[in-house]
Each structure stands twice: as C-alpha cells, then as structure tokens.
C-alpha cells in the first residue's frame, strides 16, 4: 500500500473498574487479571510496525487507561519503547478517571511524556454522577485538575448532558463549575442511548427515560453559549478549547490524516482504508496471541468516497471546509461533490458560504446528521 506514513497513533486500553450504565465501549470491567494477556497481545500487535512510528500525537483511550496505575502505565510504555517514538513537541493524551488521579500517577505520566490528560468528569453534580453510574464525587474532579495542573499537564474535562432526569438548570450549573476549573479543553457529549447498554434496556422497560429532544437542544446550546463566554472556542461539534489547546490528535482524525491504532476496537486509517480491530477485548487478545487476524471491519474507500467523508467530518468543525484546502487534500472540487446540497443548506439558513469557506450555522450544526445523506450519496 502506497500512502504517507502515519504520524498519529491511538492505543485502546480496555479496562475499567466497573461499566457505567450508558457505556458501550470495548472494555472489560473488573477483570484486571487479563492485564498480562492484554499487554502481551499489544506487544504482539505492535510488531506489525515494519519501522518505528514517529508520532506527532499519541492518544491512550479506553476504557480507562488510568486504571492501569503508575506501574501498569510503566509497563505500557515499556512496550512502546522504540516502536512508538515521540517526535519533538509531540502531544500525548491520557484518558483518566478522576478517582485514579493520584500524585504518583501524575508523576509517572508526566515522566513518560504525557502532555495532556482527559478527565472523565461527566458532571460536577453529585446527583447526576449517581444517575450516570459514576464512581467519583465532584470534589474528585477538582482535586484531579489541581494535581494535573501543578504537574504542568493540560487538562480536558469530559462533560455529559441530557442524563436521565437532568434539568437545564443542572446543565448550566455544571457548565459554570467547569468554567471555574483550570482546564484548557472541554468536550461536551449529549448522552446517546446505545444498543446493548443497561440504560437502553431500562429505557425499553420504561424505567429510564431520555430527556425531551427540545430540552436536549437547549442543553447543547447552553453549553455552546456558556463555554464560549468563558473563553473557550467551539471548534468541533462537541469540543471546546482555550487558545492553543485544541486536541491535535482529534484534529488529525478530522483532517483525515493517516493514523495507526492498536488494541481492541481500535480503528486505523491508512490510505483510504479504515480497518477496525475486533471489538471484543478477549477475542482480540486471543486472535492476536494466536497469530490470527484480529481485524473486524475493513472499509476500503475509493478516492471519491474518502473525499465525501472528508466533507462530513470537515463540516462538523466550526472552522468549516475551505475549498482550496479540500481540493489540495482530496483531489476533488468541493462543489463537484456537494455543490447542490451546499446551495440548499445555504438557502435554508443551515450553512454559510463566502465563496472559499463553507460553514454550518448553529441551526445547521444542530441537525447536521440529517444533512450527510446528501453528501455521502
């Protein structure tokens, strides 16, 4: 395969203390006994690299990578050694559960080159945290941010909205509380009801109800307004950053730059082919260790399909899509692929177009999923 070497890498760490009711990520809860097997499999998967991967960004996601603790993280880094090598100024993000953030862990992380920690805070309200099945308290978040900041690490806070029973006032309070934290980045996710989760089965039984769609929208708009007012720039559907603190790793995804990925459910994009590893952590481990193929889904796109996808992920960014940059990166004219739909969106007030850049308006962003069908065609 002929494509530029990836400069971004993702490693999926599939361990959590317990599984939160809304979560459908690939992970095992309460199975720390599988750690050795996981590390062995990861070691094996990293052998796939023909040459050391020099990265600009590395993202350790999960699950909860912080659940490995200082010692576990040390072993993980041992595996990376000369296979995943940071370029100068590399961004390294570690996802962490607030409870796991101890002085020892922070020191180890900083020591290993972590530059950014993404905290799974979800809320700073005790009731919401309980509804969401989380095992930390609001103060754990404040303490964690303090520890991370004093070690010089940048902090992202994940916030969730539309938890069952949550009011708009509760969301506004959460937003104020987050704005008061010394964090550089905030991701706000509206709760999604995924198949196979405990939440979803309770919903079907009628014991748990999603919030009304109008309220969901109000919460999302409140987040945009509050965080922008607090000095964060809204730069992608769910992401907000203080100047200079965008997540470069995620930006690589949205630029459709190639990236490598390791671990169960991890997806890599090499050329125009996106390959996703098997979702089940145990199946992935077993297959990798047996020397078998551990990939699940393979999506080989034509150049045009890839270009169309680039339009979608591009327009989810608040900067929008520049015609020149699009042409440069994809080899296609934006208007040849999406001229019609774009004109319709502009006419309907869902997008703006100044001739060189196309951006969704807030109204467009709020209903953007219903626009993509026309582009992916």
């Amino acid at each position: 395969m002929d494509h530029p070497a990836p400069r971004h890498a993702y490693v999926h760490v599939p361990f959590c203390r317990h599984r939160c009711g809304y979560c459908d990520f690939a992970l095992v809860a309460g199975r720390d006994d599988l750690l050795d097997r996981y590390l062995a499999a990861l070691d094996r998967e990293l052998m796939r690299l023909a040459a050391p991967l020099v990265f600009d960004t590395l993202y350790l996601g999960g699950g909860t990578p912080s659940h490995l603790g200082a010692a576990g993280l040390g072993r993980l880094w041992g595996l990376f050694a000369d296979r995943l090598v940071p370029a100068a100024g590399a961004e390294v993000t570690l996802e962490a559960n607030p409870c796991d953030v101890t002085a020892e862990l922070v020191a180890a992380a900083a020591d290993q080159g972590v530059t950014r920690v993404s905290l799974g805070a979800q809320s700073l309200d005790a009731t919401t945290l309980r509804v969401l099945d989380r095992d930390h308290a609001p103060d754990d978040v404040r303490r964690a941010v303090g520890l991370l900041r004093s070690a010089g690490l940048a902090v992202n806070v994940d916030l969730m909205t539309a938890a069952p029973g949550q009011s708009l006032a509760a969301v506004v309070a959460d937003l104020d509380a987050v704005a008061a934290l010394d964090c550089q980045h905030v991701s706000v996710y509206c709760l999604t009801w995924e198949k196979g989760t405990a939440f979803e089965s309770q919903r079907r039984r009628g014991t748990l109800a999603p919030v009304d769609e109008g309220l969901e929208r109000a919460m999302f708009e409140a987040a945009i307004d509050a965080l922008t007012a607090a000095g964060f720039a809204h730069y992608e559907v769910s992401n907000f950053a203080r100047p200079g603190h965008r997540c470069r790793h995620n930006e690589a995804y949205w630029d459709c730059r190639p990236w490598e990925a390791f671990g169960p459910s991890a997806a890599r994009l090499l050329g125009n082919t996106r390959t996703t590893n098997h979702r089940s952590p145990t199946t992935w481990m077993n297959r990798v260790l047996a020397g078998a193929d551990a990939t699940g889904d393979v999506e080989a796109m034509t150049a045009e399909e890839a270009a169309r996808e680039r339009i979608v992920v591009g327009l989810r960014r608040r900067d929008g899509l520049g015609r020149a940059a699009f042409r440069e990166a994809s080899g296609f004219e934006l208007d040849a692929l999406a001229g019609g739909p774009i004109a319709r969106w502009v006419a309907a007030g869902l997008a703006t177009d100044d001739g060189s850049w196309v951006r969704l308006t807030r109204a467009g962003l709020l209903v953007s999923d219903s626009l993509w069908g026309d582009v992916l065609g």
Partner: protein, 602 residues
C-alpha cells in the same frame, strides 16, 4: 400428418385457489409422457418467477399432450388456470378455447366460492364438465360430504365424480379416459378459411410479440400470410408450433388445435387478445365474437419513482398488457407525483402482481397511490361521468347524484360463522339477500355490498372471522346512489392530490382521523413543523402535527466512529431516495397507501 379433429380434446382445469390444478397438470404431463420424469418439477406450469415465489398460478398455461386410448392416439390440449378471483379473466378466456373443463374440488376444503363461480362460467359456455374430487389421499378427506356439497350446489351427479389425488397419482388414468370419453372433439373444418382466436400473447425481446391461438376453422402453415382482423395488418408466419410445455415448432396447425404464432411483430399495439386471425383477401373468415372486456374493480396511480422514466414505464405497460389484457392504463398527471398512469385492475392481488411484474421484469421503481374503486357522477348539467381518480370529482355544486359500485357477494362459510359475517356485512352497509345451505354444516350467504367495502380488506376479515374456512366471490350488480364525499389531505397546508379519497360521508371523520394519524407515523420529522389535515372542501375535519426536528447530531466522531455512523447515514439516504418531495416535505412512498387506513372505531 395432420391430426383428425375427432382425436383432439381441448379442456381447462378449473377450481378454487389451491385445490390442486397445477399439481394435477403435473400428473397429466407425467402420465402422458409429455415431460420426462426427471425434468418434472412441482407445479411445473407455474414457471413465472412470481408464481413460484407465491406458490399460486397467475397466468393460464396451455400444453399439448398425447395419449393413447383404446388403441388410438389422441391430442389433448390442457389449459391450467389460476384459481384466485382476481385472475378470473384468465379462466374465462381459457374456457372459450375449450370444449370441456375438469372441475377440481379439494376433498378436505370442499366446494368454495371460486368453485361455484368457475363451474358456472364453464356451464354457461356449454362446456362438458368432468368433475374431480382431488386430494383423496388426505387423512382428513371428507369425500362423501364434499360429494354431497357438489351435488347440492352444482347439481353434479356423485357417480360421475372421479376420485383422484394429484399428489399420489390415484385416479389419473380414470381422468384421462373420462376426458377423452366425455369431452366432445372440437368442431371445425381444416379445409375451411382460416379462423383462429388469439387467447393470449407475450412479448419476447428477440422474437417480438408471440400470439397464442386456438384454431376454430381452417389450417395455418409456416410461411403463409395471415391477417389480424382488428388492425387489418398482414404478417408472415415465421414460426408456428405447440406448447409441450415449452414452445415446439411444427409445420401446420389445423382446426381444433391450440398453438402459437411468431410473426416478428415488434409493435405491440398490433396485438389484441380476442382478435381473430384469418387470411388476407376476400376469402377471409369473419371475426369471432372475441372476449367481453373484464370489469376493472380497482384503480390506482402508478408513477415512476424517477420522473424521467415515464416513457420507459409506458413501454413496459404496453408490453405487459399484451400478456395481461385485464388491466388498463391511461396517462395521468398529479401535482404531487408528476406524470404517470392511472391503471385499472381486477383486484388488489392483481394490482400487486402487475406492480411487481413491472418492477421485476422491467426493472422499474414505482410509486403507487392507494387503490380506489370507480364511481359515477351524474352532473347537474345532465352529463354522467366515470370517476377513476378522486381528483376528478367535480365541485359539490355540480353533482346531482354520486354513485358507487355495488357487488353481489357470496360467502361460503361454516354455519357457525353466519352470525359474525352477517354483522360484518351489516356494519359495512350491506343488504342481505339470502342464505342457502350446501350441507348441514356449510352455508352460502349472499349480500349486496358497496365494492369499496369489499375490496380492500373483506377477504382478510372473512378469513379471520372464519379461521380460514370461509371463502367469498363477488360480481358487479351496478352503480347505486350513495352519500359520498371527497376527502382531501393537506400536508404542510398543501393539498396532496394523490392522497385524496372518496368515502361515505358518515365515515369521513373516522377515515380522516385515521389517515392523518397514519401519515404522522409515516413522514419523518423535518427541520420545520408539518401540519397534516384532512378536509372536505374547505372544512378541516382532522388534524395532526409533526413537530420540527430539534436536534440530530452525532456527538462523537473519532477514529472508528465514522464507519459506524456512515452506515446509518447511508441507510437514511436510501430511505430518502424512495420519497417524493411535495413542497419541501419528503413523503415516503408507502405513505401514499396510508389513506387505506380505515380507522378502528366503526
């Protein structure tokens, strides 16, 4: 060597649906050695894809067989017919080519509605009837009772009924003997001027229209010139032959025989079923009476999903029409759906089959509007107009009398269900006529009912009330005045012509409410609020709202998320393709059927 008329027998197999006609044809093909055993398939004459999918016969099929009887060779021309009421026209055309009919009755089901209807069709054409009680192999066969039912309802002498099983082969030899002995040979003189009836045809993309004929008089030879009387056009006979059951060419066909003609006819408009084939010139034979056009019971609009396929649709309809003369089509246009055709059918199954044949055989994607029956309006200026499309109903001021079709409906049911069926018919504004008992346990109930009350779901209701044991049959008695109104549906304030219906004024509220409610479930939310209204004239009688989409945005789009999401978006896109935009509202195709929703509280 030409066969002597004396040794030809032409017969149809007729029965109620599923009583085993096609299976019996298999046995006859097998026993006469027409088809080798290893090539025999079940219901082998049902070779149309839809017939095999649905396990029913849709098209009548002719086959020539040979059979030796008492030392003589006979030619038997069999026509297997469909049993479903919607395809009755196939049966009546087949009967017109025959001197006899094999009437099958299922030994368990007994005499059913189409048994009676088809038997009378044959009796009225003076055909010799060979009655057969089929499926005697069934453990639950009730041979004696069924014989009594046949005697009671059709005056069939039990001693003449052949006991057979199309499955095991019991009675097949007796049946062959009875066909030869009881059915008269065709009359007709091979030396007379050619006179042949076109009873069917189909379009072959290589060979043009292939016509199926029954020779009444004269002889037809390969290479000769023939003339179709309707159009007066002359053709060369490039090939002729018989069905065995595939086409097999021969050199000549004589009076009494059934076969096909290939004349390289590319213009399907030259072929008319029921037309007479003769020779050019003064010696030509006169036209045969042909067929009475069938009564179309339901109409619906068929529109190409992609507007530009209109011509293609016309072409396909024309080709299909020469294979099925029982549906008709007229171009029409709708504000909502563009250019298409208003098509008339014999029933809902027929409508469904035609739509599927168009989609499968011609690879077209169609939007269909809800079916309706035909109405008559006597206008104040004295003119009487036929209404096949609710859109054409004039203003109330111009209507003196609004009439609807009424059908005489026979229900053949177990006696314990008489009460519920009476109730059902009364609810539907039926007029009770009579009850006849076929046996102590089975009765025939006759009602006059508005066709509109019968055609959509009466059959399903009957089946559910009688747990599958009831059957029905109906025939048009005429058009009668009723208190009818046109109910319009407005989507986003715009009247959608293709959604209008005609209904009884007393049902308008219920229907209106049911339709807008159903539409609410069919139309996806849009960026804006959509009002759905049902109205008579300017008076709105029911209303529903589809609230605007407030939020629809994927929160997470990292790494592998997009693969999953893209599949979802692509699915939405597929769904959208099958929609029609009216104003700025996307209406899914199946929403056009929503108007069939009757509502529950009758």
């Amino acid at each position: 060597m030409a066969i002597d008329c004396k040794h030809i027998r032409n017969f149809s197999i007729i029965a109620h649906i599923d009583h085993g006609k096609s299976t019996l044809a298999d046995r006859l093909l097998e026993r006469t050695g027409t088809v080798e055993k290893r090539q025999l398939k079940e219901q082998m004459l049902d070779d149309m894809e839809l017939e095999r999918q649905r396990g029913i016969t849709i098209k009548a099929r002719a086959v020539r067989m040979e059979c030796r009887h008492q030392g003589r060779l006979y030619e038997l021309n069999l026509i297997d017919t469909p049993g479903h009421v919607d395809f009755h026209y196939e049966v009546s055309r087949s009967l017109a080519c025959c001197e006899g009919a094999v009437l099958l009755v299922d030994a368990f089901q007994g005499v059913e509605a189409q048994t009676v209807a088809n038997a009378y069709a044959a009796i009225n054409q003076n055909l010799a009837i060979v009655p057969v009680i089929n499926k005697v192999d069934l453990v639950h066969a009730r041979v004696d009772e069924v014989l009594a039912e046949m005697e009671q309802s059709l005056a069939i002498d039990p001693s003449e009924v052949i006991r057979a099983s199309a499955k095991t082969g019991i009675g097949i030899d007796d049946l062959l003997a009875a066909i030869i002995e009881r059915i008269p040979p065709p009359a007709g003189d091979p030396a007379a001027a050619l006179q042949a009836m076109i009873f069917d045809s189909h379009y072959d993309s290589y060979r043009g229209a292939i016509t199926y004929v029954r020779l009444v008089q004269g002889t037809i030879r390969k290479g000769q010139k023939i003339r179709f009387l309707r159009t007066g056009v002359t053709h060369d006979v490039l090939e002729l032959g018989q069905f065995v059951p595939q086409r097999r060419a021969c050199d000549e066909l004589v009076a009494g025989q059934v076969g096909y003609l290939v004349c390289n006819i590319k213009d399907v408009k030259q072929v008319h079923i029921g037309d007479t084939v003769t020779i050019p010139g003064d010696e030509a034979a006169p036209a045969l009476p042909g067929y009475k056009p069938p009564q179309r019971m339901v109409y619906c609009g068929l529109y190409p999903s992609e507007g530009e396929n209109f011509e293609e649709l016309r072409d396909s309809l024309e080709k299909l029409a020469i294979n099925d003369p029982s549906f008709e089509f007229q171009p029409e246009s709708s504000e909502a759906l563009g250019f298409g055709f208003r098509c008339g059918f014999l029933g809902l199954l027929h409508m469904e089959i035609i739509q599927q044949r168009l989609e499968q055989e011609a690879d077209l994607d169609l939007v269909q509007t809800a079916p309706n029956v035909t109405y008559q309006i006597k206008k104040t200026d004295g003119e009487t107009i036929e209404i096949t499309n609710p859109q054409d109903v004039p203003d109330t001021g111009q209507i003196e009398e609004f009439r609807q079709p009424v059908v005489r409906t026979n229900f053949l049911i177990p006696v314990e269900h008489i009460g519920p069926i009476m109730q059902l018919c009364t609810d539907r504004r039926g007029t009770y006529l009579k009850t006849e008992y076929l046996s102590p346990t089975r009765a025939m109930l006759t009602f006059d009912l508005p066709l509109a009350e019968v055609i959509y779901d009466m059959h399903d209701k009957l089946k559910s009330v009688t747990r599958g044991y009831g059957t029905m049959d109906y025939e048009l008695v005429g058009y009668f005045p009723a208190d009818l109104v046109r109910l319009d549906i407005l989507v986003g304030g715009k009247k959608v012509d293709a959604l209008s219906i005609i209904c009884d004024r007393r049902d308008a509220d219920r229907r209106g409410r049911a339709i807008v409610k159903k539409l609410r479930g069919e139309i996806d939310r849009h960026m804006f609020e959509i009002a759905l209204q049902a109205a008579i004239g300017t008076k709105v009688i029911a209303r529903e709202t589809i609230s605007a989409m407030r939020k629809n945005v994927t929160a997470k789009c990292y790494g592998g998320d997009i693969s999953r999401k893209k599949k979802l978006w692509a699915k939405q896109k597929e769904g959208k393709k099958r929609m029609k935009s009216i104003g700025s509202v996307d209406i899914p195709q199946k929403a056009f059927m929503a108007v069939l929703d009757q509502g529950t509280e009758r």
